[in-house]
Symmetry: C2
Subunit: 353 residues, 2 copies
């Protein structure tokens, strides 16, 4: 370890992103991107004239994007904070609401980045095990004296929690912040956004990386009470006031405004998911019930590692986590129908050998 590292930096637990090959012709089913291009309105919004304006700073308040999001979600601008991807939103929230005497809890099996961010801020973090069938029961969190983070639907399982269960958590302790990470909510789970006007302790985070085809634009946002959003802004203005660039502000607003395209893309993914799960089950896989744009599945005969490695050799990237309880699974992004057909064909070939 470097002699220059602070003790806090020495204790970090950096996240390992999914492979992002820049040149090879993989079928990429490993990072839950959309298989669809961004909305044509996004392409139109990023005009030559706007590119030329890059010599000017972006608006630190992101008013244009905040307005579009507020209209879309029937909230006020004070209820919205955009950021450089929802990872940044989550980091702001971990700092704003957790710390000394303010522990954080999340499931043992969930988005592993929560662990990295808890380490970044030196938090007392408790991992609460999902049940045997990978479902989350909010009763397991009722007595927890700190901030709770729930990905809904969860990753990498894809399993959703009903909104009424989250509501139960919010009511059980009005002084406790509940962060609901809705990165994948648009593919079939119940969003908690309608609860925001009623619970000032609810923070919802969402991203445009999945359902809005803007992974490369880095646009995430928090929705919550004015009080929680003001707290996030304290952190933002201490960390990076101009955190969203000009083009991402424009792209994000254009994406949010094209609801028709959004509905068509998410409906297509849901339909392809149904077909894919059926095909996988025919091949002997069992998949957890997914409300996301991925499925988490295992096979009786081949290990998760074998599946991952063999698929990669054959040009298909999926995600495999070398972690307790989920080592047998692979996480497969729902891509286009053609991509999923190629996957099923490859798996059929593989399992016949």
């Amino acid at each position: 370890m470097s002699r220059f590292l602070s003790p806090e930096a020495a204790r970090l637990a950096p996240y390992t992103p999914g492979e992002q090959p820049q040149d090879q012709p993989y079928i990429k089913l490993n990072t839950n991107e959309s298989p669809f291009l961004p909305s044509p309105q996004v392409v139109e919004a990023l005009s030559r004239e706007e590119v030329e304006k890059l010599y000017l700073y972006s608006d630190p308040t992101c008013a244009h994007l905040v307005g579009a999001l507020a209209r879309r979600y029937k909230l006020q601008p004070e209820n919205v904070l955009p950021a450089n991807g929802s990872d940044e939103v989550l980091a702001f929230a971990f700092r704003a609401f957790c710390g000394q005497g303010r522990p954080v809890a999340y499931p043992d099996i969930t988005y592993s980045f929560y662990r990295s961010q808890a380490a970044l801020f030196g938090l007392d973090a408790r991992m609460i095990p999902l049940r045997e069938d990978f479902t989350l029961h909010v009763e397991d969190y009722l007595d927890f004296p700190g901030t709770i983070v729930i990905a809904n639907p969860n990753a990498p399982t894809g399993i959703a929690v009903p909104r009424s269960h989250i509501q139960h958590l919010l009511e059980a302790d009005p002084d406790r912040v509940v962060i609901v990470d809705e990165a994948y909510v648009d593919f079939g789970a119940e969003s908690c956004v309608p609860l925001i006007p009623r619970y000032d302790n609810l923070l919802v985070t969402q991203t445009m990386s999945k359902s809005r085809s803007l992974a490369g634009g880095r646009v995430g946002y928090a929705l919550g009470s004015g009080e929680l959003i003001a707290a996030l802004n304290r952190v933002k203005y201490s960390f990076n006031p101009y955190n969203v660039n000009r083009l991402s502000i424009l792209a994000g607003a254009a994406a949010v405004e094209d609801d028709e395209y959004f509905q068509a893309c998410t409906a297509a993914i849901r339909e392809t998911r149904t077909r894919t799960v059926a095909a996988l089950e025919t091949l002997g896989f069992s998949a957890l019930p997914s409300s996301a744009n991925f499925v988490f599945a295992r096979h009786g005969r081949l290990s998760g590692r074998e599946l991952y490695e063999t698929l990669k050799e054959n040009g298909i990237l999926v995600r495999w986590f070398d972690a307790d309880r989920i080592r047998d699974f692979i996480r497969i992004t729902i891509g286009s129908r053609a991509q999923m057909a190629a996957l099923v064909e490859q798996l059929t070939h593989l399992l016949e050998v």
Copy 2:
């Protein structure tokens, strides 16, 4: 203060960015943007085809941009870390090198964001006063037992420190990290980049917001030893692995590769600065010797606040800091020749009244 705030968030000292009016027709000389459009190569690089690729994540290693920067500065890729503006680079550095038992020092008059970031990480921060004439003497830092941050040239004064002085600091304690914030270096100061191969405790941060006309693209970067860059990456992968979006990676690389445009723009700013300072002095201003794309000047008769407010009423934005020692000054960005002529005309009118 909100009941939801962590004690750490309650102690924050959020930064106040310069005004960024989105619609009004101000002559904007308040945030040190370039008056020139981005390089034509930037505009070309952000093609429709690249915008359409926004559905895919950006490369978390930013290899394309890292390669362009490494070639430009005659370093290896392992010596380069791009980020979402140099504010983010600085935040990573504050976390990587400062903490428990690792205090940080910077001048009393400098980029006020250092204070925000020190508060963000709960650092023991010592502000070391600049001398009476606002110059920085490295002897004042020799015995400091922690990380040192020096903006060179300094902001908002514009005064530069010779490279040999920084070298003296680096040698005085090889176990101490010295961060040289070179946001404005391209306008006339000596860069410390040539020292990087010889001093593993030197971290240089730069930005494309000023000399490369990309303020709205949010591209900053750190240059330093492989050891220091690896430490920054630990923080980056704990905070936001995909911290630079696809288009900013492309824009940054294109900007760095167009050296001819860069030389022309920075030369024009230096020439306009010389003319502007002469005109200001004729009007009774005294300006600190600037190596940056701004001048820090005061007038015998009008206070800093009066100058700022009156100029704003007349459509010209400059920056005024309501802070000890510098309350009499205004910071004026060097814009285009036409913008500076308008400023001088306005001031002439103002001072004749």
